[in-house]
Structure formats: C-alpha cells, structure tokens
C-alpha cells in the first residue's frame, strides 16, 4: 500500500522527518518498506513565462523564445514547437536539469543560436493528457494553472510529494486505505484524525425511481448499496484530485471515474459507476451467472462466465462481474446523463475464485479477497456522492438503496487489565490501555471492549493485548528468562545416533551433501530401475514446479549419483560423499507416506574400489558395535543399478538393510561419469536397531595367544566368508579370530582355483594353550576346510 504524505496531511496534522516517521510507524505495527519521491527524477524544471517569440535566422522550423524564469534576466531558449506564444506559461528544463528516465539537459547551440535549456511537453515530464486535459500531447505543455515563473514544476504536477510504501499484513485490510493508515498515524503520534467531508446533501428524486436492487444470493453479497446521480456533467476532475490519484499510481480519467477510484483509495471500499441507460428494465440483479453467459469487460475482452461466478445483471444480461470488473458498454461515457454508484460487500472467497478463474486480478478484486467491512459501504457511498456535489458533477438523488443482510452487531471482548499485564509480562497502567484502545476507535466501558466493525481481526483477549502492546511499544516490554518447571533438554537417542553416524562418516573422509527430496520419475530410468519395481510407486505432487521435481523419491541413490556426476563434470578428480536423506514410501490414499532415513555413500576416483567402500561400511558398523556374526554380505547379481559381479546385499540377522557395490557401467554412462563409481545405501533405523547402545568391558587376556597360518587351495567360486564360517564352527571357542591375509590366483594355482591364506589366532582364557591343543584345533579347521574342497597348500 502506497501512501502519499500530502494526502495523509489532509487528515492528520503531523510534521516529521521521514526516517523518524518510518521508524515510528514500523514500531507501532505498520511496517514501512520504503519511502521516496516520484519527483526525484525531475530536477531544475521550473515554470517559465514566454516574453517573446522570434524566428530563427537560419532555420525555418525553429523559433527563439525569451523566457522569464525569475532569474536576474530572461533566458533564451530555442524550440521547434509550434504552439508557443508570447505570454504562455511553460515548463522549462534549465541548464543542468534532469528529466524522467535519466535524461540530462544542458545548454547548447541550435543552428548557431544559444539555447539555455528546453521547453517541455507533457510526455517529457512523464504526464499524459488526463493529468492536464486542456493540454495537447504533441507540443509544449501550456500551463493554465495558477502559478508564477520560477516555481518548481513538481509543485504543479503534485510530484513534490513523498510516497511511503507500507507492508500491510492480511489481518489489517482496513489499512489498505488512506483513512485506515491515517488512523494508525494519528494513534502513533497521538493526534486528532480529521474525517473527510461525507455530508452529502442530496436533492430531488429517489434512487428507487431509477433502479431497484435484488440480491438473489445474500451469502455472496451481504450488503448492496447504490445511489443515483442525475444530470451528470462528465469532465476532468480538479487538479488536487488528479494529483492524489497520480501519487497512488492511478491514471486520471474523468470526474466520475476519478471519484470512484479516489473513494476506493480513501475508504478502501471499491466503487463502481453504471450508466443508467444500460441497466435494462431498471433492475439490478445480484446473482450467479447462468451457464453460457458472457460479458465483455471494461478492458474489451469477451469472457465466458460460469455458474459459480457472482455477477451484477440487469433483466437481460450481466453488466459487471461482482467485485472484479465492470462491463464495457455499461461504463461511463462522455454523453452519460444518469449514473448509479454501487458500493457493496461481496464474499471474499467467491471474488477470489471468480477473479482467478477469469484470470483477471484487479485492484477491486484484490481488496475484496482480503475481506472488507460491510458497514463501510454506506460511508464510502456518501463520500462519493458528496464529492459529486463538491465537484459540481451532477445532482445526487435524495435517498439510496440499501439491501443489508450483514450482521452489524458489534463484537465485544472482555477487558481485563491485570490479565493483559500477566500475559505480556508487563506493568502497564490501566488508564494507558483504555486511552490507547479508545484512540484506536474501540469503545471501553465496564470492562468490556467494543470492537469497530472494520477490525474483524480482534476477537479475543490476546487480540486486545496486542493492540495495547503495540501502542505501548514492543521494545518497552521487559526481557525475562523462562521460569516455571524446568525441562531436561537434549537429543533423543535416535537424534544422537544420527549425529554419531555423521561424525563417523566425516572421519572416514566422506563429505556431507544435502539434496532435493523431490525428483523426476526419469531418475528411476537413469538407475535402470525395473519398470515393475515397487519403488516406482512414488508420492506424486499434484502441482509440481516441473517434471524434474514431480515426485518424492523412494531411493536416495539417484540423488547421490546426480551429485557425484555434477562433481565429476566440475572436474573434481575424486569424491567421497554421504547423505543421511529421507525417502517417502506411499501407503495409500488419504494416508501419509512412511518417511525413512537412508545413509547413502558414494565415491569415485582417487583409488576407490569395492573393498575401500566396503571397508568404510564395515568400519561404520564396527563403530556402532554391530555384531559381525549377524552381519552378512550376500553377492547380489540382480540389482540393475549395480555391476552384477560387484554388488552385495547387506543383511543383519538375515534381513536386508542395504546394498553396496560398484555402479553398473550403463548407469555410470547415464550420468556421464567416465570412471568407476561406488555406492552404498543403508537403512538408518535398521543400523540403529542392530547397534550396541551400551558397551561392557571385557577383561584383557591374561594368557598369550597362539597363531598359525594356513593356506588352502579351493574352487574360485567359494566365497571366503563360507570358509571362515566353517573354520570357526569347526574349532569352537578356542579360536579368537581368523584373519584373511592373502587371496591368490595365477601361476602354480590350477585354473578355476584360488589360494586363500588365513591367520588363525587361538587363545584360552584360563591357561596358555599347549602345542598339542593348538595342533588339534588346527587339524579340526583343516578337516572342515577339506569338506568344502579346500586342501592345504603344500
């Protein structure tokens, strides 16, 4: 909402520096976004009086003017304009002046004759014919206002004004008007608010002699008021009104249209003026449109209406879309004789949806959307008609139409000063509160506050507290530390676990990334997800920004690969990244999806290989005490995202909790990465479930261990894990650990075989093992290996 300071001064008498004004209004609840003057673009342009006009000696189309600009002597200006004459008052851009658009005027010579500036047209001052209807557009602006040579042109055009831009929050639609803001200013500065003259006198005739109004749907139109004006004289509105409209960015049109716009800005109430000639049958019907009806709106566009849209119709057809825009042919024309002003209250949601369906958000519709005050319709109508009288623009009829279905019972809220102080933590004087509320137009009597009709936002005690607090000043409220029952703050075990996982991965050299949780369905194709995979069933966004962000991901793998690919294409030679990200598993209509956290690891370059990423995952598991006996890596050749020979499902206790492997070369190519990529995805909750949260100390061994190295040859296809399992179960408790230290294929080993070497560490808790005991354990181990076809290498 833009507010002209000049306009404001019509209602509140304040003198203030703009920075102080901005600060004071912001702190009392009307936030000032910025302030400035539209006239800043115009510098050193003054009124000049042409003393003489002479022909240019060397140019037929130029004349030399001697102009009085109230300097010690007249200045000489050369112009090509043909409408200048002796005695004319004109705008003069002096040497070194500035015009809108950053244009600078300097003195110079035109065909050898010195010109000390420029005479300006309307356009050069960013004005149009509507601002000064008597002027012509293709010539110098000949001023017919009362003015004197040397006067700043901005005073004449109203551009010597400061315009303040306010941020108006949705709870205060009443402040989308000059009067609403003036009231806030008056309260902030403790000044009197002078209301505009709305004392319409009226004359002969009744509005009902011309039209009657029938509201067919009182829910959508809670109040409809109208007043007729006869013998309308269409013409320009006075300069002051044109200036006010300009300051609000509204183009002046003619007196009647300008009055409707002026009152809308002043009272916040949209107004409409119909030409009585075009209200067929003299009946104004407020009804929803019939299927198939159309209207050509003021902007000349023919629009199809539907049964949900509220229209103003005569007996035949719609003449306006209620609260949005009038019809083209029923508008004000130069020969208009009788008009009907409309000031009505329409349902905010209905207007919003209608404007949206028609694709035309207007000044009026955006005001209705925010919710207006039905009780403001008559004062606005009165003011408009009073302006007609003041401007001598027609004869206002003696009475008006008012179809009132609104609830005009004022709202009351209990007033409890002690409660307000307890709630705010303040010690504000009761009388201060009452005074502040009264200045805000609230009535306070017998501990009851009566709320003005335009303050629909004030309903309960805290709303009253807010009014008091903002006038008292938020910064005057003390700052206290929380008292009351203490709460024990901290992270939950799950939050702590999440944090520890991050810390471990950081220590392992993985950098944390944050990716978008919505993805394109094409991402699933990129990772070669089978077309019948249940993971393709994703939560879909009905109104996505674009297809790229159309669904909620069911896997974090594509996000990780996308991030790796971006790093690769940015020429980062190697990368190790992790994300603890969310996936969204749909559960069915009307239900929220399951949101699960997944740990995703990804890497490429810098000597990364399958065993490196696997080692990191093992390290992660060990950090959290996952029981290695229950953790299994099962070769997995059928995950299409991964290399069929270099992928494992990770199982805890037989349940799959994740996948690890080298990315399939085709997937790699889909992401444009020209080097091997490794990734792992692990379910965070499952990891936490299998983590040991409490550690118990195991006494350090008292007796030495015995180690024996064993090397066997076996079929290449036998996984090392199977050999280890067999060895452990064969020798029992005496085995402390078995460590693989070599796997060899090649010379001296038959085709299809491999040599595998383990170090077997044995220990007893209560004694030093004898050689015999160790030998016997080893021979059991060897027997078990033989059963798998693994024979001791000689």
């Amino acid at each position: 909402m833009n507010l002209s300071m000049k306009w404001l001064h019509d209602y509140v008498d304040i003198k203030t520096e703009m920075h102080d004004f901005s600060e004071a209004m912001t702190m009392s609840g009307s936030k000032v976004e910025s302030f400035g003057s539209a006239g800043d673009e115009i510098q050193k342009v003054v009124v000049g009086k042409i003393l003489s006009v002479e022909k240019h000696p060397d140019a037929d189309k130029l004349v030399i003017c001697s102009v009085d600009v109230a300097e010690s002597e007249p200045i000489q200006i050369v112009t090509g304009a043909t409408n200048v004459f002796e005695g004319a008052l004109v705008p003069v851009a002096l040497d070194g002046s500035l015009l809108p658009g950053g244009k600078k005027i300097k003195k110079g010579k035109l065909r050898g004759v010195v010109s000390n500036g420029m005479l300006c047209s309307l356009g050069e001052l960013s004005l149009c014919k509507n601002d000064f209807p008597y002027a012509i557009e293709d010539g110098i602006f000949i001023i017919e206002e009362e003015c004197r040579p040397g006067q700043d042109i901005r005073e004449l055009t109203g551009l010597d004004d400061t315009v303040v831009e306010f941020e108006i929050t949705p709870n205060r639609p009443d402040c989308l008007s000059v009067l609403g803001l003036a009231r806030e200013v008056a309260v902030t500065y403790n000044k009197k608010l002078t209301m505009p003259d709305a004392g319409v006198e009226g004359g002969e005739g009744k509005t009902s002699d011309f039209v009657n109004a029938v509201v067919h749907d009182p829910k959508l139109c809670t109040r409809y008021t109208a007043r007729a004006v006869r013998n309308v004289k269409i013409g320009p509105s006075p300069l002051w009104m044109r200036q006010r409209l300009r300051s609000a960015g509204v183009r002046p049109i003619n007196n009647i249209v300008d009055i409707t716009n002026f009152v809308m800005l002043e009272y916040g109430q949209p107004m409409h003026a119909f030409d009585y000639r075009f209200i067929n049958g003299g009946t104004i019907n407020v009804r929803t449109a019939h299927a198939g009806e159309t209207i050509t709106t003021l902007d000349g566009v023919k629009r199809a209406l539907d049964e949900k849209m509220l229209v103003i119709a005569d007996n035949e057809k719609p003449v306006a879309v209620a609260g949005v825009m009038g019809g083209e042919y029923s508008g004000i024309m130069n020969d208009t004789n009788t008009i009907v002003f409309e000031s009505a209250m329409f349902d905010p949601t209905s207007v919003r949806l209608t404007a949206k369906r028609l694709g035309m958000r207007t000044e009026a519709s955006s005001r209705y959307e925010k919710g207006l005050d039905a009780q403001n319709t008559v004062p606005a109508l009165d003011r408009a008609c009073r302006l007609v009288e003041l401007l001598n623009a027609g004869d206002v009829c003696g009475e008006y139409i008012d179809v009132d279905n609104s609830d005009s019972t004022p709202r009351t809220v209990p007033f409890d000063a002690d409660w307000i102080n307890r709630f705010l933590g303040t010690d504000i004087d009761r009388q201060f509160m009452i005074d502040a509320l009264r200045r805000l137009d609230f009535k306070v009597e017998n501990d009851v506050v009566t709320v003005p009709s335009y303050r629909a936002d004030v309903e309960q005690k805290p709303d009253i507290a807010e009014e008091v607090a903002r006038i008292y000043g938020y910064n005057a409220i003390p700052t206290t530390m929380l008292g009351g029952a203490a709460t024990r703050g901290g992270l939950t075990p799950a939050q702590q676990f999440n944090k520890s996982v991050s810390q471990t991965l950081l220590a392992l050299g993985y950098t944390e990334v944050t990716t978008y949780t919505f993805i394109s369905p094409k991402y699933y194709d990129k990772i070669r997800m089978p077309s019948d995979s249940p993971l393709r069933n994703s939560v879909k966004i009905l109104n996505p920004l674009g297809e790229d962000t159309g669904i909620m991901r069911t896997t974090t793998l594509p996000s990780m690969l996308e991030t790796l690919a971006r790093n690769y294409s940015n020429r980062n030679l190697a990368a190790r990244l992790f994300e603890i990200g969310t996936v969204y598993m749909p559960k069915g209509k009307g239900e929220l999806p399951l949101e699960l956290s997944k740990i995703a690891l990804g890497s490429y370059g810098g000597g990364e290989d399958f065993y490196k990423i696997k080692g990191d995952v093992e390290e992660l598991f060990e950090t959290f005490g996952v029981n290695t006996d229950l953790c299994e890596y099962k070769a997995c050749g059928d995950d299409p995202s991964f290399h069929p020979g270099r992928c494992a499902a990770i199982l805890f206790n037989g349940i799959v909790v994740g996948t690890i492997g080298e990315i399939h070369p085709e997937v790699q190519a889909n992401y444009g990465i020209d080097t091997r990529v490794y990734a792992a995805v692990i379910d965070l909750a499952m990891l936490m479930q299998n983590a040991v949260s409490e550690r118990h100390y195991t006494p350090l061994p008292k007796y030495p261990s015995t180690a024996r190295d064993i090397a066997v040859t076996c079929d290449d296809a036998i996984p090392v894990m199977e050999l280890e399992k067999a060895m452990k179960s064969a020798a029992g408790k005496v085995i402390e650990k078995i460590e693989l230290f070599d796997v060899y294929r090649g010379r001296q080993i038959a085709e299809g075989k491999k040599s595998v070497a383990f170090s077997v560490v044995m220990r007893a808790a209560d004694r030093t093992l004898t050689d015999d005991e160790a030998d016997s354990a080893v021979s059991k181990v060897l027997k078990a290996l033989e059963a798998l076809g693994a024979t001791l290498r000689s």
Partner: protein
C-alpha cells in the same frame, strides 16, 4: 722383552689412531689381543724368562694389555658415536614438504549452523522435535488457525499431494503434533525441510529449512518470549548485538512480532545487506493463539506459550557470506570443502 712390549704398545696406539671403520678396529683387536695376537705371542715367551724377572715383566705385560684394551674401547665408542651421527645426518628430511594426510569429510554448512542453534536451545532446556514433511492440510493450516481463504493455501504457493495432504510449507505443524501428544511444560525446537512453490534462483528454493520453536507452560509471558529470543540472538551474533521486536501478523500467534538485528555491516546506517533499512529480519514469533491451543486440547485459560520460526538458509548464507542459495544444494566439493 721390555722393549718389545713398549714397541707393541706404541705400534698399537699409532695404528688405532688411524682406524675409521669398525671392521678395522676388530682386525686390530685380533692382531694385538687375539689368541694368535702379538701381545699373546710375547706373553707365551714369559716361560723362558728367569723367575726373578717374571713379576716385573708380568706387570708391564698387563699394563700393555690394559692400555691396548682401553684404547680399543675408546676408539670403539668414538666410532659408534660417529656412526650414529652420520646415520642421523643422512636421515635428514625436508620438514617443509607437506605431510601425508588422511582426509576427513566436511559437514554441510546447513548442518554446521543447525548444530550450533540446536546446542544453544538444548542449553536452555529445549528438546528437538520432528514431524513428517508430507503432512495433512489440517496440521499445516487448519489447526494453526489459518483462514480458509489465506493466500498461503493457494496451489500457486503450496505443493499438494491430495486435497487434504501437502508438502508442509512450514515447520509449524510440528507444534500441533507436539501439543497433541505431550502435556506441558513443552520446550522444543523443530528443524526440518519445508516446501514452497518458488522457482529456483539465487535467493529462492522450492525446498528449504526452517527451525520452529515452541514453549508452553503456565504463566509464560511475552517478556519470556523476548528474553529467550534475545538470548538466542546474542549467542549467535554476540553479546553486543542490538535487537528489536516489531509488531507483525501470523495466523497462529497473537500478539505476533518479528525480531530484527541491527545490521552488522553498516550498524544501522543502511547498506546493501540490509537493503538500506539498517535492520536485518531474523525471525517471526508470537504468543501462541488461543485457538491453536484449543485445537490441541490445551486450555488457554490455564496455559500460555510462545512460538517462533526462522529460515536456516538465510542464517547460513549470512554466517558464511554465501551469495547464492543454489550453492547449498549443488554440493560441489570445491564449495563444501571450504567449511
């Protein structure tokens, strides 16, 4: 014989003086003291001496032996010392060559600042609450006292999944979930991802992070709100941060406010960072609206409380001087490794 001993002694002394290697020293030891050594050879001749001469020669012979042994020992020690010295000097390293590093990863800047904020509030007795990102319209809007015609509900601003399910536009629905499931006293913050239909550019993202806060108890006042948030802001921006609370509007709080900090670049004069205002908006807050309390089954006559919410991205960008929000989601290592 006496002369012979004297000669051996002198010869040994002379030869030892020029020894350079441990092997040479060993050769000399064998030459003089060994079983077939020169001194041994002389001692073997002792038997041929008259008995009267034997003790005197014996003393001389022992003296000669001790003399040679001592010299060999001295020489050995000197050699060893020299050897250690030369070994160490050969092992000299250029200590200015960079070390071998085990690279650790970097935390994402969003996490760094979020962790800092969590620590501050945990210190004030807050817990961390979480809620789903795919949320019911009821929790995201209705229960938060948002009017049916509020523009935030518009599909132009909000992503919908179904008529009654959306991607949460704020972390405020976590307030509702906490109040419905937990009895006061409540002190929580709820950080998380939120979604709004904004095209991606330098200062906007359809996905960003908010941190919600909620305190509910008997006798909580607006002064408590100010004290808590003042304390928080000073923990982040330093004790000398200048703050102001100005009136604002949110459907779910009453009274509502926004907290600004005086611009730390221009100190209030107005600059590019604060867009000439001299103040930077930090967060929105307010006393929890009685309708919201009632919607959650909490009696507003018995309990009161305050809530606040702030955007994490903007805090992070200011903390590190990041000028483009997209960097936070592009995850380029050249960017991430700076933190």
């Amino acid at each position: 014989m006496k002369q012979q001993l004297e000669a051996i002694r002198n010869a040994a002394e002379k030869e030892l003086a020029s020894v350079k290697l441990p092997a040479e020293l060993e050769n000399l030891r064998v030459k003089y003291l060994g079983k077939k050594g020169e001194l041994t050879a002389i001692l073997k001749q002792m038997g041929g001496l008259p008995a009267s001469e034997r003790p005197a020669i014996g003393v001389l012979a022992n003296e000669a032996r001790t003399f040679i042994e001592d010299h060999i020992a001295q020489c050995g020690a000197a050699l060893k010392e020299h050897e250690t010295e030369s070994k160490l000097s050969n092992e000299k390293l250029d200590v200015t060559v960079p070390g071998d590093r085990h690279k650790i990863g970097s935390r994402h800047p969003l996490t760094i600042v979020l962790d800092q904020i969590k620590d501050i509030f945990i210190g004030m007795g807050f817990n961390i609450a979480q809620g789903p990102e795919v949320e019911f319209v009821e929790y995201n809007f209705d229960a938060l006292n948002t009017p049916q015609n509020h523009p935030a509900r518009d599909p132009q601003d909000t992503f919908y999944i179904e008529d009654n399910i959306l991607l949460r536009t704020q972390t405020s629905p976590v307030q509702i979930r906490v109040m419905k499931s937990q009895k006061p006293p409540i002190r929580i913050i709820a950080p998380g991802r939120v979604y709004r239909s904004d095209a991606i550019d330098g200062t906007h993202s359809p996905l960003f992070h908010q941190i919600e806060g909620l305190v509910i108890d008997k006798g909580i006042t607006m002064a408590d709100l100010k004290g808590t948030l003042d304390g928080f802001a000073k923990s982040i921006y330093g004790e000398d941060a200048v703050l102001r609370f100005r009136p604002h509007h949110f459907p779910f709080t009453e009274p509502s406010c926004e907290m600004d900090t005086r611009c730390f670049v221009c100190h209030g004069k107005g600059c590019r960072l604060c867009k000439g205002e001299g103040w930077i908006e930090l967060l929105g807050a307010g006393m929890v609206h009685p309708n919201v309390l009632r919607n959650c089954g909490i009696d507003p006559d018995e309990y009161s409380g305050f809530a606040f919410g702030m955007g994490l991205e903007r805090l992070v960008m200011r903390s590190f001087g990041i000028d483009d929000m997209r960097l936070l989601y592009e995850n380029d290592l050249r960017f991430l490794s700076q933190f």
